[in-house]
């Protein structure tokens, strides 16, 4: 008898609750769980990944060339062997394509020091090294710049005092980092001439404050990834053996 009454009471409350349909937030508890080796990997997920991983590893780890030394972007003041290598590769790989398209030649190359993301170690080199060196999807673009704009580019390099990779441009600075000489393919920069500067789409869009690219005439988008240019070069050469040279130097006296 008492229970029947209780049941009615309970149903009554239930009815009330359903009718009001109001949920009230009473408590929140928060936590953050570290994903580490205390957790057992899910075998199904692991098996699903395996064929994808195996294919990548075969592709990335086959030896394409050899590096004579270990090259790092911290070796060298105004130019580095690894930076020289990357800028020269961009020239060698992109120039034939550009020439076929436009009838012009690339006059010079400019990349950025920050874009060198790893070292090239001595010994066997595979595509994996290209992914480490250049993990981003940036592509090579060729920008038509007036000689006067090229002067802004060289001033930037002189003021920046950073070994931004260049190719086919030679820049000699004095003790105060003023430009003594700026030559493209051995000739003094002519303010009225149009130069075809190969760079990355990142820098074209103002990356690393390279604002001088804004005043460009024409842009040729190669859609050729810098990383792929590196891999194609690895496949082409027996040995990587770049050097610190005289392309960007300072004469102290």
């Amino acid at each position: 008898m008492r229970f029947t009454y209780l049941m009615f009471l309970l149903y009554f409350f239930l009815f009330l609750n359903c009718k009001s349909k109001k949920h009230h937030l009473s408590k929140i508890s928060v936590s953050q769980i570290s994903i580490d080796n205390s957790l057992e990997p899910n075998a199904d997920v692991e098996n699903f990944i395996k064929p994808y991983r195996d294919y990548i590893n075969t592709e990335l780890d086959s030896i394409l060339t050899y590096s004579a030394n270990t090259y790092s972007k911290t070796d060298g003041f105004l130019n580095t062997a690894i930076g020289n290598y990357m800028a020269d590769v961009v020239y060698d790989q992109a120039n034939p394509i550009f020439k076929t398209w436009s009838g012009h030649e690339i006059d010079m190359v400019l990349l950025n020091h920050g874009g060198i993301r790893a070292i090239v170690p001595q010994g066997p080199i595979s595509a994996r090294h290209a992914y480490e060196l250049m993990p981003f999807e940036n592509t090579i673009v060729i920008v038509a710049l007036k000689g006067s704009q090229v002067n802004n580019l060289t001033t930037y390099l002189a003021k920046n005092k950073i070994a931004h990779p260049i190719s086919k441009l030679q820049l000699i600075l004095n003790a105060n980092f003023n430009i003594i000489e700026a030559k493209i393919k051995g000739r003094t920069v002519n303010p009225k001439k149009t130069y075809y500067v190969a760079t990355s789409d990142y820098l074209l869009n103002g990356g690393d404050n390279m604002t001088f690219f804004k005043a460009h005439d024409t842009v040729y988008e190669t859609r050729y990834k810098i990383r792929n240019a590196l891999i194609d070069n690895f496949k082409k050469v027996d040995t990587i053996n770049p050097e610190i040279d005289l392309r960007l130097i300072q004469i102290k006296d």
């Binding site: 009471l9 949920h23 937030l25 570290s34 997920v45 991983r53």
Partner: protein
């Protein structure tokens, strides 16, 4: 409080007498608070494998197969769980370079992600690259402030989604970062960026008034906070200048927080802002407890941080 104690005791007694019918069981469970678990990741950046044991910064951390085990055990504990990602799923390992995001989406579908918002790096293969991988994603993309009308993503991304778990309605809306200056226009094409704060106000109105949501979550890729440009819209700014958002799950700035940040919104109500770093190193877990008291809890919400 007394009435509640009485009810809990009596309902326990009632089930004990073995008179327990379906309705009685339902009754007893309706008196217990309903727990909603929100799990979240952000900026995983194609980190499918765990970091190697000799990695300089994150040795032995991360890995989606481990995350899968963890999520599975949490779901077993509480089926009323939502799994969300705050964007930048793409870019960071050769998995993305080789497969363009296919594996990321397939694995997130296996893990039963419920929704994700779009990060700037998710445009890294262009809007076409994102669109091409959509068939591999069994979860919903949400963004309230990216207007995709004149792009191929049109109708493939919703501003919000409402989930119903354990009788609780959870409204989740997405927000993305300004793409201009961050992503090449040739990548995002005609995607229009709308004001995140204005869109939040619209979203909370829809979710609260039209959908009667009990819980409102914002899945944001705006970034936690910008020290050098404090006026730039961020999760903290969003939390302060809006109302009716209970939780902001953030991304973009790869911010590691010891615990979520508690912010007072424009109505002086609590908003939780959380972000769990990047690369799948952590899983965020936030449990919301709801009860069916007739009067709004006099003591307010208890949030032990």
């Amino acid at each position: 409080m007394k009435r509640r104690d009485f009810l809990q005791k009596t309902s326990a007694a009632a089930t004990f007498t073995a008179m327990g019918t379906g309705s009685l069981q339902a009754l007893s469970s309706s008196l217990k608070p309903t727990k909603i678990t929100i799990l979240h990741t952000n900026d995983v950046h194609s980190h499918i494998d765990s970091f190697k044991e000799n990695h300089y910064r994150n040795p032995n951390r991360g890995g989606i197969a481990r995350r899968a085990s963890l999520i599975e055990s949490i779901r077993q504990d509480n089926p009323n769980t939502l799994l969300l990602d705050a964007g930048d799923i793409f870019q960071g390992t050769p998995y993305f370079n080789f497969y363009g995001g296919e594996l990321e989406f397939k694995l997130m579908s296996i893990l039963k992600y419920d929704a994700a918002t779009i990060g700037n790096h998710d445009f890294d293969n262009g809007i076409e690259g994102l669109f091409a991988q959509l068939p591999h994603a069994k979860f919903q993309f949400i963004s309230a402030n990216y207007d995709f009308t004149n792009t191929i993503m049109d109708s493939h991304c919703k501003p919000y989604k409402v989930f119903k778990k354990g009788g609780i309605k959870i409204g989740v809306f997405g927000l993305g970062i300004k793409l201009k200056g961050l992503v090449n226009k040739s990548m995002y094409k005609e995607t229009k960026y709308l004001d995140p704060i204005e869109m939040s106000q619209e979203m909370t109105k829809i979710l609260k008034t039209d959908h009667n949501c009990d819980l409102i979550v914002c899945l944001s890729h705006l970034g936690y906070h910008y020290h050098n440009t404090p006026n730039k819209v961020s999760d903290l700014k969003l939390a302060k200048t809006t109302k009716d958002i209970d939780l902001i799950i953030g991304g973009h700035t790869h911010t590691f927080l010891e615990k979520p940040t508690l912010i007072k919104n424009i109505n002086n109500e609590d908003v939780l802002v959380n972000q769990v770093g990047c690369y799948g190193l952590n899983l965020g877990k936030i449990d919301f407890y709801f009860d069916r008291k007739k009067n709004k809890s006099a003591n307010g919400i208890s949030i032990p941080l």
